[in-house]
Amino acid sequence: MYFKKPGKYVITKKIDSFFIGLNDALQFILRFFKEIFRPPYEFREIIRQCYEVGYRSLFLITLTGFITGLVFTKQSRPSLSQFGATSWLPSLVAIAIIRALAPLVTALIAAGKVGSNIGAELGSMKVTEQIDAMEVSAVNPFKFLVVSRVLATTLMMPMLMCYTGFVGMLGAYLNVHQNEMTSFTSFFQAAFDQISFLDIFSSLVKSIVYGFTIGIVGCYKGFHATNGTEGVGRAANASVVLSMFLIFVEEILIVQITNSFRP
């Protein structure tokens, strides 16, 4: 009679399961890159997901972007006015928003809204056997569910980031205009004086990386949800927490790399 032997741990149960999880996640990412080039392509689903990720996040992004720009300018004013340097406000705000705040705020908002949504939706499909149902009807659920969502978040995040940057700058302009009566043109001229191609390029790279992270983490957590409705909640929560954590780690790494290119 055959019985599967109980597993022996290489190091300890926790460390073993950490490395097994890491390997699973890497396999998941590798599978994404394999499936992305393999036909058939789910163009309709990708467009639908782009709409879900992009259009449906617009209100929240507009609100947070605008408030971030406005509040940042308001809070920076007293320090600069001590040195009589309020004329530097536009360029200071532009550097802060374009280099750091726009990609980061967009990513954190998207992690909360889009990441949790993906984790919960896929988690719910997993525990109600809808993913298995796709599998047994000879449809590749990974391509339909994962590839489309990860592509959508990766494509939409740079666009949302640009939009957040623009709205944030509008918020900043409103505050500057209120206090200094600066015109729209001179505010933006002053703001973009200090912005280089590297700033814009690194922000675009950041937002692509963040978009990919949010999509892949949400899909991974949802795809591996277990234990019924409790598992769905856990998948949604883990999607947000892990993507936010990874976004901050990536932020540090990309800033370090970008700074090494600065003169």
Binding site: Y2, K4, P40, T128, A133, M134, S137, A138, V139, N140
Partner: protein, 258 residues
């Protein structure tokens, strides 16, 4: 204790399971299962909840991998197939889930179109629509075509789940607890549907259930799963004409109209 059935089905063996073992941690679910399912035969796997009945059909359709053992479906060893080969095989194997597993963000029409448009890309929109209407007619639910799964009753969901598998015209149907959670009248309707599907689509089926009425009305061969092993098999009458307490207990707690 096994009874050799006077099997009228001497056709080709479509599903061949040998020495199948499956464990989840320390829970040894299947412990040496052997099963042959012949062409056009309806085999019912009976057993209490948690005895591994669903695990067996999930292994047969490749959703789970066995620890040990051989599972051949339509002459192909499932565990050795790559993704593409497995998908080809699954076109021939329909799986009706216990909870129907309808895509809850799609209407009934979209649920049925989903596998069809992805597996028969040459079909025009009109052909897809005709196919959907035809299969909905077969399960008697044409009127639900634009409804969402949340608007359907349990019995309707089961029927739509069956329709979604039938739309690919499979040779083999695997039913996981087709009557669970349904009232007796709806259960009888589902049993009739299973028999209708068999005759209209010429399917070979494995039906997983603990409902004796379902087993009696749909099964040519009944196999009784207990503690991960088949303890008895034969026709309905043969399986229950025994003093074996494990089988008699199971019979006692089921209502059946003899």
């Amino acid at each position: 204790m096994e009874i050799e059935t006077n099997n009228i089905y001497h056709g080709e063996v479509l599903i061949h399971v040998r020495d199948l073992y499956k464990s989840f941690g320390d829970n040894h679910v299947l412990q040496g299962i052997d099963l042959d399912v012949h062409s056009k035969e309806n085999v019912v796997v009976l057993g209490r909840s948690g005895t591994g009945k669903s695990v067996l059909i999930k292994i047969i359709c490749g959703l789970l991998k066995p620890d040990v053992g051989q599972v051949e479906v339509l002459g192909k060893e499932v565990a050795k197939l790559n993704d593409r080969e497995l998908r080809q095989l699954r076109l021939q194997v329909g799986f009706s889930f216990q909870n129907s597993a309808l895509y809850d963000s799609m209407t009934v029409r979209e649920n049925l179109a989903f596998p069809l448009v992805r597996n028969a890309r040459h079909l025009s929109k009109k052909e897809v629509s005709l196919e959907i209407e035809s299969v909905l007619n077969d399960v008697g639910l044409s009127q639900t075509i634009n409804q969402m799964p949340s608007e359907l009753s349990g019995g309707q969901r089961k029927r739509i789940g069956i329709a979604r598998t039938l739309i690919l015209h499979p040779q083999i149907m695997l039913y996981d607890e087709p009557t669970s959670g349904l009232d007796p009248i709806t259960s009888i309707e589902i049993n009739k549907l299973i028999n209708h599907v068999r005759h209209k689509f010429n399917t070979t089926s494995i039906i997983i259930t603990h409902d004796l009425t379902c087993a009696k009305s749909t099964g040519d061969k009944i196999v009784m799963l207990y503690d991960g092993k088949f303890i008895r098999q034969g026709t309905f009458g043969e399986v229950f004409s025994t003093d074996d307490e494990r089988i008699q207990d199971f019979y006692k707690y089921n209502f059946i109209d003899q």
